[in-house]
Amino acid sequence: MLKIDNLSKTYKNAVKAVDGISLEIMAGDIFGFIGPNGAGKTTTLKCVAGILNFESGLILINGKNIKEDPVGCKADIAYIPDNPDIYESLTGVQYLNFIADIFKVSKADRERLAEYYATKLSFNDALGDVISSYSHGMKQKLVIISALIHSPKLLILDEPFTGLDPQAAFTVKEIMHTMCKEGGAVFFSTHILDVAEKICNKVAIIKSGRIVASGDLDSVKGDQSLEGIFMELAAK
């Protein structure tokens, strides 16, 4: 589903945010990307989502190269940022329509999926409101619905549980599981190690732009808790 090979990204101030990372996500995987603040998680996710350019390395989504066929790659994925900065002057439904238009979702599908996910996330009554009136959590819910409205094969989420109420967080985890059962994959970053431990089958720990541990959850953590192994690696 997703293959990252030797990815490096340097910012203008010569800071190497990502330094030669490689990982692979297969259909059915829920892949947790863990690391301290400033480790390079968001940069990696943004490179995969086609938001940031990168100097070297390869990103393949369903066999398509993000640099050579960005439009084809983006059609298969949905990206949910850590901060839901969206068009404040639109209403929720206008925003969903906008995203559905871009992803060429049929009228019937967008109606069905919007209603399905809005109901699941208890968001029905807020869809007609202007986004500027939403709370952080409501904006997050809208971004999640907009990401799912085009049935992506790969869901890329940056700190997806920040700002969500417990019920919505539970629903999102449920959606992630369902998606993977249906042949999709999820690649997400998180600070909440308990969540990663509970829902991921694969994890990677990133520190200062380099991956320090990666693979199946059980092989990475061994006999320890994920928190224990994370603290150990972070201290090195």
Binding site: G50, V71, K74, Y87, S89, L90, Q94, A100, D101, I102
Partner: protein, 535 residues
């Protein structure tokens, strides 16, 4: 330091970014800002002082120099009134730090007073710029100026902003109440803003047109009668010039009492009004919502138009040329005879009246349309939302087409409508109208392409409010200057070619603009794509 002064200090430091100026790294910026501020002060003193000097000579001849003092009262009064209507909503209703301030252990009245004093501080700056140059001229020209007059002027100077602020706040409250009930509440503010801008321009032109001694003498005579009949002006003269204590006290009461009444009445309902304004009414459930599907280009263009219509500062700064063109065409329809006389008067360089008419119409259309470029801010305004467009499965060309769509929607329909009105009103031939139509469409396309081109070269993705992008960004400024350059270059080329057939020249200008647009499109879809990817 008491709570009120702490609130006021925090507000002023935050509003004017004073801490940034203290920073050693921002020294250049600080020096630049001080230099610009001094230049503004100097310009105001030269412009207002110069006009006052000119009028004072005439007033002296008429023995009515005191009228100048009335101007030092009425001018800041009117300007502050208009500004307060505009500023009050953002300072008194739904202001940004409302949640923070209302969560602190401070009385509502103290918060309101701090907000009002903040506006008042700004008002004094404007009052100084407008009133003081006039008073300075009065001091120089008045043969028997006493210290009492100066002291009473200062006393009135302190009191003047209170009344326009009170009236302005009530107006703002009314506008806010009306706009809440309207489906699209920005319409009220947008129409009001354009009316205000056109009024200011109209007044400015009128002032220039009356810079003639006889006209001023007549006007001053009428104004002198008005001063006598309007009690506030009369009171002001009796107080400041006549040193009459009763008049001084009455005038001070008129200026200040409404202010305290406003603070007290509004203070009681301050929290209630703000709470009500922040509430959003419950909307329909998803069952009642219609989903519409469009192509990606249309979807992006619709998104752009939606933002445009919700951002007042964006509209007022980029649509003024189109509003002027439309009002100008209506004015031409209403006053067609006067336009003919004007054109006949200015038929120079051996052109026929028909050619002169064509020349004036073409210059006006080009000027109004080419300066109207919402696209010059459309990339920058994505700001933090840029991730949405960048993560979408559409190529950059599609994004650019959607953004250009906004520019075309804003310029071309109004431009075409205006050209039709002008065609009917000023009696152009059908061929001339077709050429004007081509010019109108090509100007709309060129303005959009130029704006997008400049914005890609000078993007400003980090900003606190859209005002920074729309009014203060390099792209907006350069786009306007480039537009002006194109207009001036066209006129110069026309005069160098010693064109005798204006219609033919306008036709070539229209085609040249389309070719220039094509060149910009080439850049946008090649280097522009790379720039966009790097943002």
């Amino acid at each position: 330091m008491n709570i009120l002064s702490s609130l006021l200090k925090a507000d002023l430091v935050n509003s004017f970014a004073l801490n940034e100026l203290k920073n050693k790294n921002n020294r250049k910026k600080a020096v630049g800002m001080i230099a610009v501020s001094l230049l503004v002060v100097l310009m105001c003193f030269i412009y207002i002082g110069g006009a006052s000097w000119f009028i004072s000579d005439i007033l002296l001849k008429m023995g009515m120099l005191d009228i100048l003092l009335v101007f030092s009262f009425i001018m800041p009064f009117m300007i502050l009134f208009l500004m307060d209507i505009y500023k009050m909503p953002s300072h008194l209703f739904s202001f940004k730090d409302y949640d923070l301030l209302m969560s602190l252990p401070i009385r509502d009245n103290t918060v309101l007073t701090a907000k009002v004093l903040r506006i008042m501080t700004e008002s004094y700056v404007w009052e100084f710029l407008v009133s003081f140059p006039i008073f300075l001229v009065y001091c120089i020209k008045c043969p028997d100026l006493g210290i009492m007059t100066v002291l009473l002027y200062i006393l009135m100077f302190i009191a003047i902003p209170a009344l326009p602020m009170s009236i302005g706040a009530v107006f703002a409250l009314l506008i806010a109440k009306i706009s809440i009930k309207m489906r699209n509440k920005n319409v009220v503010i947008i129409i009001g803003s354009f009316a205000l801008l056109i009024l200011i321009m109209g007044l400015s032109f009128s002032i220039q047109s009356i810079m003639n001694e006889q006209v001023i003498m007549n006007a001053m005579e009428q104004f002198g009668n008005l001063v006598k009949s309007f009690f506030m002006f009369d009171l002001y003269l009796k107080a400041v010039v006549g040193h009459d204590i009763v008049s001084t006290l009455i005038l001070l009461a008129i200026l200040i009492v409404p202010f305290f009444v406003f603070i007290n009445i509004f203070g009681k309902s301050f929290k209630h009004i703000n709470s009500a304004m922040m509430e959003t009414k419950a909307q329909r459930s998803i069952k009642g919502i219609k989903f519409i599907s469009d192509s990606p280009v249309i979807a992006i263009a619709k998104k752009e138009i939606n933002f445009y219509t919700h951002c007042i500062i964006y509209i007022t700064n980029t649509m003024f040329g189109m509003v002027l063109l439309f009002i100008g065409s209506i004015a031409a329809a209403v006053m067609g005879d006067k336009v003919d006389v004007f054109i006949a008067t200015y038929s120079v360089f051996g052109f026929t009246e028909a050619d002169t008419k064509m020349m004036v119409i073409s210059v006006v259309i080009t000027y109004c349309m080419i300066l109207c470029s919402p696209c010059s801010a459309s990339i920058s305004l994505e700001g933090k939302n840029l991730w949405i467009l960048k993560s979408m499965p559409v190529d950059e060309k599609t994004i650019f087409k959607g953004k250009l769509g906004l520019g075309l929607v804003v310029t071309i329909p109004i431009g075409v409508l205006s050209s039709i009105i002008i065609y009917i009103a000023l009696g152009l031939t059908f061929v001339q109208w077709l050429v004007v139509l081509l010019l109108t469409i090509s100007c709309g396309i060129l303005a959009s392409m130029l704006g997008l081109f400049v914005n890609l070269l000078f993007p400003k993705m980090e900003f606190k409010s859209p005002t920074e992008v729309v009014k203060q960004s390099a792209a907006s400024g350069i786009s306007i200057f480039a537009g002006m350059f194109i207009v001036i270059a066209t006129i110069i080329i026309g005069s160098l070619l010693k064109t005798q057939n204006i219609t033919l020249f306008v036709l070539f200008a229209g085609i040249a603009y389309l070719l220039l647009s094509a060149a910009f499109w080439y850049f946008i879809t090649h280097k522009g794509v790379r720039i966009f990817r790097g943002l």
